[in-house]
Every structure is written in structure tokens, then in C-alpha cells.
């Protein structure tokens, strides 16, 4: 076989004692599109950062066209021809499309000034080449997410790139936009470029990738041509166990229990169709949809953290006025999406984090007796499966999975009737995921109603008894039983927007 454009040779990376990648072997050949698969936290992003010189390896090396690359700065890899389309866009809203594309490589006049005519002209040519119709002089901040993505790709391709790395490029795209992106990717591959494609969506990987490399817990667990894989074999390599072992049983008759939450005509945004949904005691209901489809907004509205008008009833009792304090009092609790931003007090002890929202028995007024929090927090180790040496340690010392368990345990102290969980396993390792799934199922079996928001389709499919799929701010479909599959959800979630909302209204 010919020499790969870009390769990792027994590449390792540690952060302190934490070994994130171990002996990675990875190759990208010209004319190939390699899928890089793995769960969140498996080490994909770290590998990309090593491949581009943003991180320096602690073991092994990166090879470029057969030679050790030795990059210490992304500018060096960029100059060599490694272009990256980042998950968080690196396009700048304050600059024009053309300025973004040529940032750091602006065409100059003889006096060394930016040649604005050439800048816009070159950008126009590049955009046309990619089949994108945008005015290069427009400011990027006014563009749609999909167009920003296209600018990002154009920027990556401005210099003669040999390898293009795309990190979750379709996470925010509609079906049509994804089609367009795929045409571009296939075109680039046929021109001889090497591509690395990071995505959670297996369908896409099987459609456009020629090879697959799977990473789990920092190790390559499997690699080969796409033709040697099936959906199930990729998932098995990613998860490291059969799906059946990861997820607990599902409810036999999800809607048999009492209706805990009943939502009718809830307008989260006045100009979008209202939401109608139910959650019964004993079932786990999933809220699926693309990033930006309105899942979190709906959940925040149910929790009273965002304004909305409509009927919400809990256990048959209408809740005319809602705010988070009232919802907690009534029994609606929510685990927010980002535990670091709005869940945890990072520098505070595990015990205090746990006790922060409920005073506990024997506490009067505002004075907390010494040692009280630590005694209460004993429940974390005894009943909630949190692994911690001492509850007086700052919670930042815990792993993501254990942090999440503390937060869930804190919510349970309020004895919720309805528990809303936004991305409950983000940044959590597989073992802890399985434990969290098991806990959630146990809560449902005890009669709690659960509403789970997740971007990971495997999680929605494996865990939920019923699924509402959102698209463009509205609930587009409800899936039950065997309808709940990755294909079923994606088909609804990424369908083209109907041109007019509320035709039936």
C-alpha cells in the first residue's frame, strides 16, 4: 500500500497521571475517507489535537508523508497541508466571509496592505468551486449555522490541503445541507485528498467513509475497510460490550402508570406551534432532535426557567404559574445540560454540593450544625454508588461520572415526581453510563416519571420507552416500541423544514 499522508505511530498522551490515549496507530491515505468513531470522551478530540500539533504527544509520534512531523504548533501542520473543520466553529462573526477564509493569509498589495479586491475575488472563486452561493463581503455573524460551516470548510481548503479533518460536521445541519456537504466530501476525496470524518451518526459513516477506526477509552479497538463492518459491530467496538449489557430492560407498558405530567398547548415561542406531551409514572421518555431543535428550551420551559404560556398539569393539578422554585416544591426537578456551568460548585466539597439545595432533617433556620453535611453525604457512598475517598474533597476531584451521580443524588433528595435530565451522561465513561442508566430505570420502576434529553442516539434508543422527536422548535413526532431506532429518529429530526408552520391551525 502507498504511504499514508498522515499517520499516528504508537501515539500516547497523558495529562498528569491521566492517560487519555495509549499507543494509537492511525493512518489516512490519499483518496480515502477514514471515520473516527468513539463515544464522547473516548479520545477522538485529543487525537485530532495531537495530529495537528495543538498538543505534543507524551509517547510515539505523528508521521507526515512517511516522515516524523514534530509539529508543536497548529500553524506548522496547517502549512504542511492538514486542515481542520472544528466542532466549535473557528469562524469569527466580526469579520466578513472573505476575511475569515483568508485569515492569516490575506492577499497583499505591493505595499503590504490587504488587497481587498483580490481577497473578495479569491474567496468568491473558492466558494463557487465548493458550490456555495454566498457574498464574500457579508459579515459571518449574519450567516446561518450551515453557512458558517461552509465558510469553515472553505477556510480549511484555501491552501492546498492534503488532509481535511472534519469534527462532527453534520451535528447542526439539516438533511439537505448534509447532502451538499457529502457531495463536497466525495468530490474532495476523488481529487485525492485524505479525509478524517468524526461523527456519531453511523448511517453517515457507512455512506461516505472508506475506512473505519474505532477508539474506546484511549485505545484503538478496531479498524479496517468499511465493507468489513456492520452497524452493530461498530457499536460493539465503541461501547466495548453488547448493547444489551449497557442498557437495562425497558418498561413493558410505558403508558400504564398515572399521568404525572400533562402538557397542552405550551407555547415556548409565540410564533411556533405549541407543544403537547405526557409523561407517565414508571416510564422514561426521550426528547430527541438535532442541536438547536429546541429540546433544551422546551425542558427549561417545563421547569419554569424559561417563560412559556400554556397548560401544564402535574399529577392532574394545573400549575398556572411556574418558576424553578415552584417546580422544585411541586416535584419537578431538572438536571441541567452543563454540570460545570450550572450544576456544580466546583471548588466546594462533595458533601456541600450534595446538601446545597435541601437543608435535611434537624436543620432549623439557616444554621447548619458542624459535620451535618458530611453525615448526610454518607448516603452518596452507601446508596448512590459514588466513588469518593472523603466527602470533604472538592467535587472537582471526582470523575465526570461520579460528579453526575452526586448531582442526580442531590435532585433525588427533593423526592421528585418528574425528573428532567438534560444530557445525563455527557463526558461520562462507559462504566458510569451503565450505572446511571440502571439508576434511572430503577427510579422509573419505583414509579417516577423521567424525561431524558440526549444528543446521543444510542442512549435515546437504548434507554427510552417513548420518544418525542423535535425539529425546528416543535415536537415533530412521537415514536414508540420498535419505531424507536437511530434511523427512525434521524429521519424525523433531520427532515427538511416544512415551509409554513401552522398550516393546519
Amino acid at each position: 500500500m502507498t504511504q499514508p499522508f498522515l499517520a499516528a505511530r504508537s501515539l500516547s498522551k497523558s495529562f498528569g497521571p491521566n492517560e487519555v490515549l495509549k499507543g494509537i496507530e492511525f493512518e489516512v491515505h490519499g483518496g480515502h475517507a477514514v471515520a473516527l468513531c468513539g463515544e464522547n470522551g473516548a479520545g477522538k478530540s485529543t487525537l485530532i489535537k495531537l495530529l495537528t500539533g495543538l498538543y505534543t504527544p507524551t509517547g510515539g509520534h505523528v508521521e507526515f508523508q512517511g516522515q516524523p512531523a514534530g509539529w508543536t504548533d497548529p500553524r506548522q501542520s496547517l502549512a504542511a497541508g492538514i486542515a481542520v473543520v472544528h466542532q466549535e466553529f473557528s469562524v469569527l462573526g466580526a469579520l466578513s466571509i472573505a476575511e475569515n477564509i483568508y485569515l492569516g493569509a490575506e492577499p497583499r498589495t505591493r505595499l503590504g496592505l490587504i488587497d481587498r479586491k483580490a481577497l473578495n475575488r479569491n474567496a468568491q472563486v473558492l466558494l463557487q468551486d465548493l458550490g456555495i452561493t454566498l457574498n464574500p463581503d457579508d459579515l459571518v455573524e449574519n450567516l446561518s449555522v450551515a453557512d458558517k460551516q461552509m465558510v469553515e470548510i472553505a477556510k480549511a481548503l484555501r491552501s492546498e490541503a492534503k488532509v481535511l479533518i472534519l469534527d462532527e460536521p453534520t451535528a447542526v445541519l439539516s438533511q439537505n445541507e448534509t447532502r451538499h456537504l457529502f457531495r463536497i466530501i466525495n468530490d474532495l476525496r476523488e481529487r485525492g485528498m485524505g479525509l478524517v470524518y468524526v461523527s456519531h451518526r453511523l448511517d453517515e459513516i457507512f455512506e461516505i467513509c472508506t475506512d473505519i477506526t474505532v477508539i474506546k477509552d484511549g485505545v484503538v479497538t478496531s479498524k479496517g475497510p468499511t465493507s468489513e463492518y456492520t452497524h452493530d459491530s461498530v457499536i460493539a467496538a465503541m461501547v466495548g460490550r453488547e448493547l444489551g449489557d449497557l442498557f437495562p430492560h425497558k418498561s413493558a407498558d410505558p403508558t400504564a402508570g398515572e399521568k404525572v405530567l400533562k402538557v397542552r398547548n405550551l407555547f415556548v415561542t409565540p410564533d411556533l406551534p405549541p407543544a403537547n406531551l405526557d409523561v407517565h409514572a414508571g416510564e422514561i421518555v426521550g426528547l430527541a432532535g438535532l442541536v438547536g431543535s429546541g429540546r433544551t428550551e422546551l425542558a427549561l420551559a417545563l421547569y419554569g426557567a424559561a417563560s412559556a404560556t400554556g397548560e401544564v398539569a402535574l399529577m392532574g393539578e394545573p400549575m398556572p404559574y411556574r418558576d424553578p422554585a415552584g417546580c422544585i416544591e411541586a416535584g419537578i426537578l431538572m438536571l441541567t445540560e452543563s454540570r460545570k456551568d450550572d450544576g456544580l460548585f466546583l471548588n466546594t466539597s462533595v458533601a456541600r454540593n450534595f446538601a446545597a439545595t435541601t437543608p435535611g432533617h434537624g436543620v432549623h433556620h439557616s444554621a447548619i450544625p458542624p459535620g451535618h453535611e458530611d453525615r448526610r453525604a454518607a448516603i452518596l457512598k452507601e446508596r448512590r454508588g459514588v466513588v469518593v475517598d472523603h466527602v470533604g474533597l472538592p467535587i472537582s476531584a471526582l470523575s465526570g461520572g461520579n460528579q453526575q451521580k452526586v448531582l442526580i443524588a442531590r435532585l433525588l433528595e427533593n423526592r421528585p415526581k418528574l425528573l428532567i435530565l438534560d444530557e445525563p451522561t455527557r463526558g461520562v465513561d462507559v462504566g458510569a453510563k451503565a450505572e446511571i442508566y440502571k439508576t434511572l430505570r430503577e427510579l422509573a420502576d419505583e414509579g417516577m416519571a423521567l424525561l431524558v434529553i440526549s444528543s446521543e442516539l444510542i442512549e435515546i434508543v437504548g434507554l427510552c420507552d417513548r420518544v418525542y422527536v423535535m425539529r425546528d422548535g416543535e415536537i415533530a413526532s412521537e415514536l414508540r416500541g420498535s419505531e424507536i431506532s437511530e434511523e427512525g429518529i434521524i429521519t424525523v429530526a433531520a427532515a427538511e423544514t416544512s415551509t409554513h408552520h401552522g398550516v393546519a391551525a
Binding site: L54, P74, H86, G93, A94, L103, G104, E106, D137
Partner: protein
């Protein structure tokens, strides 16, 4: 036209500032007959020059997402140094100018270097250097000291018709920096770093070096302001810079430049400097205590920022 808007970074808010300038002007004419005279308007311009220069420096720094609070100490220090060296000949003046310009740049390089490489917030870095330099200035002299050549002093008081030389110089500086922001790669980098530093770094821009250059430019402009102020006072005052740290920020904010960086430009700052100077002058004619001027300035700052905050949400 759209190119002109893009080049000047004109915003709708600038029309509001222009309208306010017109309103203050008309109001000023009703307050006093002497307000709209060439003599008074030239005075107003004289009042603006030093502030206009440091506000220009502050605009560039804030556009890059930073802030420079070192002007208070730096101006005092540089004024003392300049007056001590300027002597009474062209030779000594040029030497003093070179030394003060170099010292200004050095102060900026230190500000930028500590901010970029040690990773300290520029608020802290520049507050620190300002405090140090304020102390050094007072260690050098307790009383205003030194002198400048008479012809230099005359120059700072000179006029071309109704336009003071200082004002012409300021206009040229604003055009120069505006052009720099629009047509040089350094200008683009300033916006890029201010808009999203991480994205700029990933795009391969030399973020740290850019920051150092930005603060160095700020320090150089501060040195220019110090030379002008010393010329006007004809001595080096070790307290010359007091208040300029916060005063330099007001026109930038009122002019619509985002404190978070990445958005705004020199046009807004220029208009805001004019507005603030006219307002102070009118209040003077009304015999209003300067303490009320502070109150007025404070109200304007909060009103301007509230205005932009409201716009940002929609």
C-alpha cells in the same frame, strides 16, 4: 456605500451620537452667545486632544478584547521624563521625543507581554503598571518640573484657522489607525483576537505577538499624548495622568465599541469624544460645578451600555 460602512465600521448608534452632538450644540447656543464663537470652539478642541489620543489607544485595545488602565501612571511618568529631557533646542526635543516614545512602547510591551505570556487579565496587569509608574513619577519629582522648547509650546497652542494643530494631528491619527484596522493584516488580527481568541489561535494567528503589538501601539499613543500635554502645560506634571485611565474608556463605550471586543471602531470613539467635550463646555457655560459634569458623564456611560446591552439581547 456598504464598503464605506464596513470600512468605517459605522453603526446606527453613531447617528444617535451625531444627533446628541447637534442637540448639545443647539442647546449651547441658547445658553450663551459666546458658545458658538470660533474662539470657544477652538478651546473645546484644545480640550479634546489629549483625551482623543488615549481614547484612540483604548479603542484599539478594547477591540482586541483587552483593556489598558496604565494611562494614568504612564502619562504622569512620561510627562515628567519628557519635560526633564526636552531642554530648549530642537536636538534635545527630538532626543526627548525618541526616549519618551521608546518608553511608551516599552510600557506597552511589558503590559502585553505579561498579559499574553503570564496569562494575567489585562485589567490587573495594566492597573499594576499604572500604579508603579504613578509612584515612580512622584519619586522623580513632587512638583511639576522641567520645560519644553518655546517653539514646541507654541506649536501645541497653534491654529490653522479654527483648527488647532493638535486637532489636525488627532484627525490624522484617527484616519491612520482607521486605515490600519481596515487594510492591514494587523488590523484584521485585532478584530479576530477580540472576537474569539481561541478561534484566532486555531486559525493559526500569532495571538500572543498580536497582543504585545496592540499594547505597544497603545503605549506609543500614550507617549504622544504625554508630549502634547507637556507642551500645553510647558512643565512635566507628575500627576498629569490622574483620571485618564477611566476617562479614556468612556468615549470608547459611548461610541459603540463592545467592551467584550471584536466590534466597533474609531469613528464611534471620535464622535463620542466630541460629544463629551461639547457637553463639558456647555455645562461650564451654565456655571455648573465640575462635580455635576462627573455625574453627567456617569449617567451617559450607564445609558450607553444599557442601550447596547438591550440591543445585544434582541
Amino acid at each position: 456605500m456598504s464598503m464605506l460602512v464596513r470600512a468605517t465600521r459605522a453603526q446606527p448608534v453613531h447617528l444617535v451620537v451625531v444627533a446628541l452632538i447637534a442637540a448639545v450644540f443647539v442647546f449651547g447656543m441658547t445658553v450663551s452667545d459666546r458658545f458658538a464663537t470660533p474662539l470657544n470652539l477652538a478651546n473645546v478642541q484644545d480640550q479634546m486632544v489629549a483625551l482623543a489620543i488615549v481614547a484612540l489607544a483604548q479603542t484599539v485595545v478594547i477591540l482586541s478584547g483587552g483593556i489598558d488602565l496604565s494611562f494614568a501612571g504612564a502619562l504622569s511618568f512620561l510627562c515628567v521624563v519628557f519635560a526633564s529631557l526636552a531642554g530648549d533646542t530642537t536636538g534635545t526635543l527630538l532626543l526627548a521625543m525618541a526616549v519618551v516614545a521608546g518608553a511608551g512602547i516599552l510600557i506597552g510591551v511589558i503590559n502585553g507581554g505579561i498579559t499574553a505570556y503570564v496569562g494575567i487579565h489585562p485589567l490587573i496587569t495594566t492597573l499594576g503598571t499604572s500604579t508603579i509608574l504613578a509612584g515612580v513619577a512622584l519619586l522623580l519629582t513632587r512638583q511639576p518640573t522641567g520645560s519644553v522648547p518655546l517653539f514646541f509650546e507654541d506649536f501645541t497652542y497653534g491654529r490653522l484657522g479654527v483648527l488647532p494643530y493638535g486637532m489636525i494631528f488627532v484627525i490624522a491619527l484617527y484616519l491612520l489607525i482607521g486605515f490600519m484596522l481596515w487594510r492591514t493584516t494587523f488590523g484584521t488580527r485585532i478584530f479576530a483576537v477580540g472576537d474569539n481568541e481561541a478561534a484566532a489561535a486555531v486559525s493559526g494567528l500569532p495571538v500572543k505577538q498580536t497582543k504585545i503589538a496592540i499594547y505597544a501601539l497603545s503605549g506609543l499613543l500614550c507617549a504622544v499624548a504625554a508630549m502634547y500635554m507637556t507642551g500645553r502645560f510647558s512643565v512635566g506634571d507628575p500627576r498629569a495622568g490622574v483620571g485618564f485611565d477611566l476617562r479614556s474608556i468612556t468615549p470608547v463605550i459611548v461610541g459603540g465599541t463592545l467592551l467584550a471586543g471584536g466590534k466597533g471602531g474609531v469613528l464611534g470613539t471620535a464622535l463620542a469624544v466630541v460629544l463629551l467635550a461639547l457637553l463639558a463646555n456647555v455645562l461650564n457655560f451654565m456655571n455648573v460645578s465640575s462635580f455635576y459634569q462627573w455625574i453627567a458623564e456617569g449617567v451617559i456611560i450607564i445609558a450607553a451600555v444599557s442601550f447596547f446591552a438591550g440591543k445585544g439581547k434582541s
